[in-house]
C-alpha cells in the first residue's frame, strides 16, 4: 500500500506544480501595488514597494521561490496587508476555526442525509419517499445566499427575540468549546440544510441501486431483518460511492464556508481568503490555494485507500 501511496503522490507532483502556476499567473494579470499604497504614494515609493514584495523579479524566479516555500512548508512570508503577520500565523489562526465549522457540518450532513436517503430508498415509490425527494429538489433550487440571509435573520435574530434570549450568535466568533454551539451551530445547520438536498438524493440513488442486488435477497432468505440488511449489508456495499461523495464534498464545504464565514463573522480560512483576494494579498491567496489543492490531492488519495479498506475487491497497486 505504501508503494501505491508514494506512487500516487509522485504522480500528483505535476498537478500541484500546475495549480501553483495557474494561481500565480492568474494573480499576475494585474498590478496590485498602487492600490495598496494609498492616496499619497509616489511613483518611486510604488516602485520600491514592488521591489520589496518581489514583484519585479522574473516570473520564473517568483514561481520557484513559491514552490520551494510550499515544498518546505515554509509559511513565514509576511502578509502584504497585515504587516507583522506571517501567512503561517494566519493559517494557524484560521484553519482550526474553519475546521470547527466544516467538519461538524460534513459529519452532520453526511449522517443526516444518509439516514434520510436510506429512509427514502426504503420507502421507494411511497408517499414518504416522494415527499422527501420533492423537498430535496425544492431545497436544491434555492440560492445558498438566500439561505444565509434568511437563516441569519430568522435563525439568530427573530428566534432570539422569540425565546427572549439569544440562541445563536448573529455575528462574531469566540474560541472555546463551550461557545461552539452559540457561534457555530447556526452556520453549521445552514450549511447542512444547503447540502442536504444534493446529498439526500445521491444517497437515495446509491441505496436504491443496492436494493436491487441479489445478495439482498440472499440475506433476506437467510432470515436477516430489514434493518440488518439496510445497515449492515447495504451500507457496507454502498460505502464506496458514499466515501467518494464525502471526499468530493470536502472542498465544497471549504468554499461553502466562504460565504458563511463572511456573513457570520467567523474568521476562518474562507474569510481570510476572501479578504486576501479583495486586498490583493498575494502570499495568502497563493499559499491558501496551494494548501487547498494539497489537501484535495491528499483527500483523493485517502479515498483510494479507504476504498481498499471497505471493499475487499479493490486492490491498491
Amino acid at each position: 500500500m505504501w508503494a501505491f501511496v508514494i506512487r500516487r503522490l509522485i504522480y500528483n507532483i505535476p498537478v500541484f506544480l500546475a495549480i501553483v502556476l495557474m494561481v500565480m499567473s492568474l494573480l499576475r494579470v494585474r498590478d496590485p501595488v498602487p492600490g495598496m499604497m494609498g492616496k499619497q504614494a509616489t511613483a518611486a515609493a510604488i516602485e520600491s514597494k514592488r521591489h520589496e514584495l518581489g514583484l519585479d523579479r522574473p516570473f520564473v524566479e517568483q514561481y520557484c521561490t513559491l514552490v520551494q516555500q510550499m515544498v518546505t512548508l515554509d509559511f513565514s512570508q509576511e502578509m502584504w496587508t497585515q504587516p507583522g503577520m506571517t501567512v503561517g500565523e494566519q493559517l494557524r489562526k484560521s484553519v482550526p476555526i474553519s475546521l470547527l465549522l466544516t467538519l461538524p457540518a460534513l459529519v452532520l450532513t453526511s449522517v443526516i442525509s444518509l439516514v434520510i436517503g436510506m429512509l427514502s430508498a426504503f420507502y421507494r415509490g411511497q408517499w414518504l419517499d416522494k415527499l422527501l425527494v420533492f423537498l430535496a429538489v425544492l431545497g436544491m433550487s434555492v440560492s445558498f445566499l438566500v439561505y444565509i440571509i434568511f437563516g441569519q435573520y430568522f435563525g439568530s435574530y427573530q428566534l432570539g427575540r422569540l425565546l427572549g434570549r439569544p440562541v445563536f450568535s448573529i455575528h462574531g466568533y469566540e474560541p472555546g468549546w463551550q461557545n461552539w454551539c452559540y457561534y457555530m451551530l447556526l452556520p453549521v445547520l445552514i450549511s447542512v440544510l444547503v447540502s442536504m438536498g444534493y446529498n439526500t438524493r445521491f444517497y437515495r440513488a446509491v441505496m436504491v441501486e443496492e436494493t436491487g442486488r441479489d445478495y439482498i435477497t440472499t440475506a433476506k432468505s437467510k432470515g436477516a431483518s430489514s434493518s440488518k440488511i439496510m445497515f449492515v449489508h447495504m451500507l457496507r456495499n454502498a460505502m464506496i460511492p458514499i466515501i467518494t461523495r464525502i471526499m468530493i464534498t470536502l472542498p465544497l464545504l471549504v468554499t461553502g464556508s466562504i460565504l458563511l464565514e463572511r456573513f457570520f463573522g467567523i474568521p476562518g480560512m474562507g474569510d481570510a481568503l476572501l479578504s486576501a483576494i479583495s486586498n490583493n494579498d498575494f502570499p495568502v491567496i497563493e499559499v491558501f490555494s496551494s494548501i487547498f489543492a494539497g489537501l484535495f490531492i491528499c483527500s483523493i488519495l485517502l479515498t483510494d485507500v479507504l476504498y481498499a479498506v471497505f471493499d475487499p475487491r479493490v486492490r491498491l497497486q
Binding site: 500528483n12 505535476p14 498537478v15 500541484f16 500546475a18 495549480i19 495557474m22 494561481v23 492568474l26 494573480l27 494579470v29 494585474r30 429538489v137 425544492l138 436544491m140 433550487s141 434555492v142 440560492s143 445558498f144 445566499l145 438566500v146 440571509i149 434568511f150 435573520y153 436491487g212 472542498p251 465544497l252 471549504v254 468554499t255 461553502g256 466562504i258 460565504l259 481568503l273 476572501l274 483576494i277 491567496i285 491558501f288 490555494s289 487547498f292 489543492a293 484535495f296 490531492i297 483523493i300
Partner: protein, 396 residues
Amino acid sequence: MFGRILKSREAKKLLRDKLAILAMLVIAGYLMVALALMCHALSLADCSQVVGPSNVPGLFLQEAPERRYEIARTSMLGRVRRALQRSDPAAALAEIQLGRVRVTDKSLAELQAMVASAAALQEQLQAVESLDDDPDALPLLESFERQVAALAAPLVGRDWWWQHAALLLGTDAQGRSICFRAVYSIKVAVQIGVVTALVSVLLGAVLGSMAGYFGGWIDHLVVWLVTTFSSIPNLVLLVIIAYAFTASDSDAKDTLLPVYLAFCATFWIGTCRVVRGETMKLKQLEYVQAAQTAGFGSLRILFRHVLPNTSHLMLINFSLLLIGAIKSEVILSFLGLGVKSQPSWGIMIRDAGNNGDVMTGFFWQIGTATALMFVLVLAFNILSDALQDAFDPKHL
C-alpha cells in the same frame, strides 16, 4: 441527431412523465422570455428607469400610513416643487417622468397653486406625531395623496398598462421596477447558463471522449488537466479567475466575459470525467470495433459513432451545469465579481441584502428574484431528474 433522440425509447419515456413535460414547458417559457428580451422587448433603460417612489410594495398593496405619506411625498410633489425652483421651470417640468407618468398639463401658475396647497397639507401632516397611530390624520393623508396624484397626468391606453406592469411587483430602493428587473434578469441568467453550460459541455465532451478513445498520452494529459482543475475548490477558482479578469482595466467594461471564463474553467471537469468513462465503455462495443476494422478514420469514428452516443450524458450534464451556472452567478455577483451593470438575480439579492430589505421586512425584491430563479432551477432539476430516469435502463 435530435431527430433520432426524439424517436428514441428514452424520449418516449420522458414524454410520459407529466412533471417533466411541465418542467420543459416552464423552461421553454423562460427561453421565450429570454429570446424576447434579446430582441429588446424590454430594454436595459426600462430596468434602470425610475417608475415610482422607492420600496413600493408589489401587487398595489396599501402600506401603513407613514409609508403612504413617504410614497406620496417622494413621487411627484418633491420633483415638481424642485422643478418650479429651476431657472426654466417649464423645461424642468417637462423633464419629469416617473415611468410613463408625467406632470399634468396645466399652466405654471396652476401648478404652483396645486403645489402650494399640497405643501400646506404636508405641513399639517408634518405636525402629526405618528401617522400610524393617529386615525384622525387619515383623511388628511388621503386628501394629500389625492392632491399629489392630481399633479400627474392620468395615464391612458398602453401607458397605463406599462405603468401597472412596472409597479406589479413593487419598486426597489431606487424606485426602479422590480418586475422589469427580475424579468430582464432572465435574459442574463439564460445567457450565462446557456453559454457556459454549452461551452463547458462541449469542451468536456470533446476532451473526455478524446481521452477515452485515444488513451495514451492524450488520456494522461486530459486526466492531469482534470485533476489539476478539480484540485482547487470550485468557488476559490471562480473567485480568482473572475477577480483576475474583471478589474484588469481593458476588461473593466460591461462584459460577461470574466463570468463565462470563470464558469467554463470550472464546469467542464465533470462532463469530461463522465464522457471519458462512457467512451472507454463504448470503445469496447462491437459497432465501434466494427467501424475500426472497416478502416474508418479515428476522428470520424469519434465524432460520428462515439460522441453522439454520449449525447444523453451531455444532455444531463448540460442541465446540471445550467443550474450550477445560475446559482453560482448569484454568489459571484454578491461578492461583486459577477454581473456588473445589468440587473441579475444575484444583483437583486445582493441589493436586497445590502439595502436591509430583509431587516425592514420588505421582501419584494429578494422574494421576486428568488422565486423566479427558484422556478427555473426547479424546472431544470426536475428535467435533469427525468432525463436521468429516462436514460437509466434499470428504471421501469
